[in-house]
Symmetry: C2
Subunit: 614 residues, 2 copies
């Protein structure tokens, strides 16, 4: 029982009733809203309370009424780690008194007694027992900026060497300049650990590999060690550390692929047979997706009695590589390992290293993908890979960029991966790759490509109907001719520079779609919260045909007045156009360019800007 | 830390993250849904757990997959009071094994080892530590049927007597047959307590009442007592109890109006001055809405130091009348009293008397109205009183009849009240009253009218622009000619009989709007959950003109096949029509009838039904 009369309800943002933290990055404002009201007609006051999780004192920000009993305030987290926030409110007797006094005075009433009452209230102050605080506080996980805005490039070190020779970390070092020239800031390597020999796969995932076949990097563990070892053909730990340092100099972070599974030759199999499921015939259970069998992979048996020791060991894989300079991990198939383990590992790692990022490579059912994000993964793979039509893209990106999803799920968009050569890229040629690149880079504040297959528009599947690459680097070395004249290298470099120069593209929060009267043309804008940067992207989704159409721009959302002309500056081509009003004409020919990426410049110069006008 | 791999998320129904119970009535199913899934490809199993709050054992209902990791099950509460429910889930190793075995057998694989594994799993059973239960459990408040389906009539006992003579409970007894003949099952009386003399209001809310003016029943408390007393001109407590008993024989419950405020003559003012706010000049603070003053009303000062004693006393007002046979209360302006007090009083009362119903008379801001419903009010007044156009009605009733609102807020629709003569009724005459009656009775499983003003289509406001009745019974006696030929008595009786005979109209859950190509015609259906009853109502919202239009019926929602004719039976006129397909023609002339209330009869007789056909 309490006599406190004020109510606090429906605080946003919150994820699953506060069970999980909201996600933000350092310097990114957290705008908190709440329904706050009391019985009767008394006025209420409320403040936002927030603090870094280890701080004792709450910081306070007064909240502003938005009408309909809704209030808001914001705070800007300045440190990595978790923050708490909540709302405190009370009936504001003094403000109520002031409001009523003004009405009575306006009506010419005798207010002598009211003035005495005001003195009483002033003396009284805010009585503790009429103040309500919403409990428990909500949480926000504050990551570094790269969690929100990152540009990934994936390559197989094995193919970075001279033709026919197994590539090394030194070869990757030599490739760094190429990667940096395209503007990527994360270089992600498939697993770098020793590869098993037992049941090793030959090229194109066929059985019966010979001793010279390199095998799949995901068949982890062999004579040279397991998840903390380095594949001898790539080099040494010292070589790896030098690669990390060199990349750092070029503004690139090395991301490692953590795949928690073992080849039959992994040291774990001998040292910890209790971490694997033993079949009734005494053999170890290999991976299955009946009727398919993957005898080269032993999954962990996470329901083992010794699950605590197993979790500790897997956590130590992360801390081992963190100790050697890695801060970004792409986690392979996290959806086939227990959710509570990820929640525990990520929390444990981030407690010591709040700057570490985890990318969830879960291509699975939507609720499973979202759950992994809620329990701690920093970024997540998405269905973008298979979303090609205007309707699909609008539907999916509306879902991803609005609460509740946008509060916990950070999409990382991949037009291709070593596992996925989508049909769209198989049949659309270079224009298809170009338009998918622009979509990924402008719809997603984070995106990545698997190269050089991507920039060279590699398009042959293993067999018709397959979405796997023919002669995939997963099972063999490849030689790539990086300086081919039809490489998308330059387009990628330009698009990534546009991303770096336009804060609007570094966040997904300001995404808005605009109607175009042609199903093959998609238009969307991104605008920063403060309105200072606004980028309008228009993409021709058809890689084969020129399309024209009229865009119906939602002017207010890009900060433009309908009565004044404004300039749209195509950052891809350099061309500038003067537009006025919502309706404007668009024509895009995929043989020349996949898209316009317009920076909207609101202020157009007129005679008033001419020096001698006044 | 737990090794349990299954996740339970997003259970519905739930109100504000489980802070408040969902509302249902005895026998009304609770359909519970949840997202349930595990990592990987293993199958999961889940059960709904539920129990009456004081039961020790959980009842179990297996849940069924709906696809996309969503599961459902239902239970039917059979007792009054609160129930708890939650979901329990686990990875179903045996089911997974069976599924995989079938696939391997279909592929002709050797399954000898798999069969041994199955034996192991069977022996093992469900390991306790892989089972997850969602905590804390959610709650449902189970009321009696009248909470969901009720038909209210309000009258002033003061006007029930002979012309010019103050009416008594005995006069109300004599009026019961009239009320019953119209099919009402709740008769609600404005406050029946002694009325104060100090600052008493004269007719039409003017100051300066004479000793012969009856005053407002809401100025509670005088020489004859306070909230537990009876106004001497109405009779005695024994008379009241006889009225309650006689009403009961006719299937009518007497509802009392509980208005927590005092006239200056209330015994509380002398006996408990500490329950009122003393102004600096020593006088007691009267009610104000600056610059308006209501010197005849003293509000309670709920922030008094003695608030606990005040709450106890107010609670005892309910228990006093419960002891004298009352089970239904209409609470006056609950939004001007503290929310936590209502939560406490209603919980306390219902713990002893779970059959008691509380109607919240809060015409205020939406979040305040919803909060009162969440914290315990059984039913609530709504904005229906001012929703007249098709668009307004569709928007508002879509909100009211869908979760989350429908899970905690039970609308009670009033076309008029003693305080509100809406403009629509002032200018639309009898046809306006008729159509508002049909809307209220078919849109709302619960509705009420203030009579005889309503059935006699009383339409004069106190002054132009006012929504108050001229010569309101709040301040004077009125004489009503009940047998006037233009009374809506018969229409009301017919509509209420239709309500009683059609379960579809006794619930708001099955409401669905259907397009009509005329803004003055609104069409909606209600269908029972089991599909056995479906009522389609079409109302002409224009009281002045005949309108015609084409309805586009969503056939599947009313259980009709597009290829077969079906019968619509107008329960108002008795007429029957054969329709086929979605598009059908409607014509409604307000001078004859305000509406069609069609029962949809799916099965139309054909030659196959003829006895000798075979």
């Amino acid at each position: 029982m309490t006599k406190a009369r004020v109510v606090i309800e429906n605080i946003t943002p919150q994820v699953d009733c506060g069970r999980f933290p909201v996600k933000r990055t350092v310097g990114e404002p957290v705008t908190v809203e709440a329904d706050v009201f009391a019985d009767g007609h008394d006025m209420v006051a409320c403040v936002l309370l927030y603090r870094a999780q280890d701080a004792e004192e709450w910081q306070r920000a007064p909240m502003t009424s938005m009408g309909n009993d809704r209030w808001y305030a914001r705070f800007v987290p300045r440190e990595l780690g978790q923050y708490e926030y909540t709302v405190s409110a009370w009936v504001d007797h003094l403000a109520t008194w002031r409001r009523d006094l003004a009405k009575k005075e306006a009506a010419g009433q005798d207010v002598r007694v009211d003035l005495l009452r005001g003195k009483q209230l002033e003396k009284q102050g805010i009585d503790e027992d009429i103040v309500v605080r919403y409990e428990p506080p909500l949480r926000v996980e504050v990551d570094r900026e790269k969690a929100r805005f990152s540009t990934w490039y994936e390559l197989f070190p094995r193919s970075a060497g001279k033709p026919g020779v197994h590539g090394t970390f030194a070869d990757v070092e030599a490739r760094l300049q190429y990667v940096a020239s395209m503007g990527f800031d994360v270089l992600y390597l498939p697993p770098i650990h020793p590869i098993g020999f037992t049941e090793r796969k030959a090229p194109n995932n066929k059985p019966g590999a010979g001793r010279s076949d390199p095998g799949s990097p995901w068949a982890i563990g062999g004579e040279g060690g397991g998840h903390k070892g380095i594949h001898p053909q790539l080099g040494t730990l010292a070589d790896f550390k030098r690669l990390v340092a060199r990349a750092h100099e070029l503004g690139i972070e090395i991301a490692l692929d953590i795949a928690f599974q073992s080849s039959p030759d992994h040291p774990y199999v001998r040292e910890h047979p209790e971490w694997f499921l033993k079949r009734p015939d005494g053999t170890i259970q290999y991976a299955e997706n009946p009727p398919k069998k993957y005898q080269d992979i032993y999954p962990f048996h996470f329901e083992t009695q010794e699950w605590r020791e197993l979790w500790e060991e897997l956590k130590s894989v992360f801390t081992f590589w963190i100790a050697h300079g890695v801060r970004v991990f792409r986690v392979d198939n996290p959806h086939t390992k227990p959710f509570p383990m990820w929640q525990w590992i990520i929390a444990e790692v981030k407690r010591e290293h709040p700057d570490v990022l985890f990318l969830s490579e879960a291509f699975t059912r939507p609720k499973v993908m979202y759950r992994l994000a809620k329990l701690g993964f920093t970024q997540s793979y998405t269905y973008f890979t298979w979303r090609n039509t205007k309707r699909e893209l609008i539907e999916y990106f509306t879902e991803l960029t609005k609460p509740p999803v946008s509060d916990f799920f950070r999409p990382n968009l991949w037009p291709n991966t070593p596992d996925i050569l989508p049909e769209f890229l198989q049949f659309g040629g270079r224009p298809a790759a170009a338009l998918r690149l622009v979509l990924a880079a402008t719809l997603g504040a984070s995106y990545g490509i698997y190269g050089p297959a991507f920039e060279l528009a590699e398009s042959k599947p293993r067999e018709p109907g397959s979405e796997e690459y023919l002669d995939s680097e997963k099972y063999q070395l490849r030689t790539w001719q990086l300086d081919r004249s039809d490489s998308l290298h330059e387009l990628i470099a330009r698009v990534n520079r546009i991303r770096r120069e336009n804060p609007a593209l570094q966040n997904n929060r300001g995404l808005r779609f605009h109607p175009v009267d042609n199903e093959s043309l998609i238009a969307y804008s991104k605008t920063t919260e403060d309105g200072t940067d606004s980028v309008l992207t228009i993409v021709n989704l058809d890689p084969h045909n020129r399309h024209t159409g009229w865009i119906e721009l939602e002017l207010a959302s890009v900060g433009v007045e309908s009565t004044k002309p404004f300039q749209v500056h195509d950052l891809l081509s350099g061309a500038r156009f003067l537009w006025q009003g919502a309706r404007n004409f668009i024509a895009l020919d995929p043989t020349y360019t996949p898209a316009h990426i317009f920076r909207i410049r609101r202020r157009v110069r007129t005679e008033h800007d001419f020096d001698y006008f006044m």
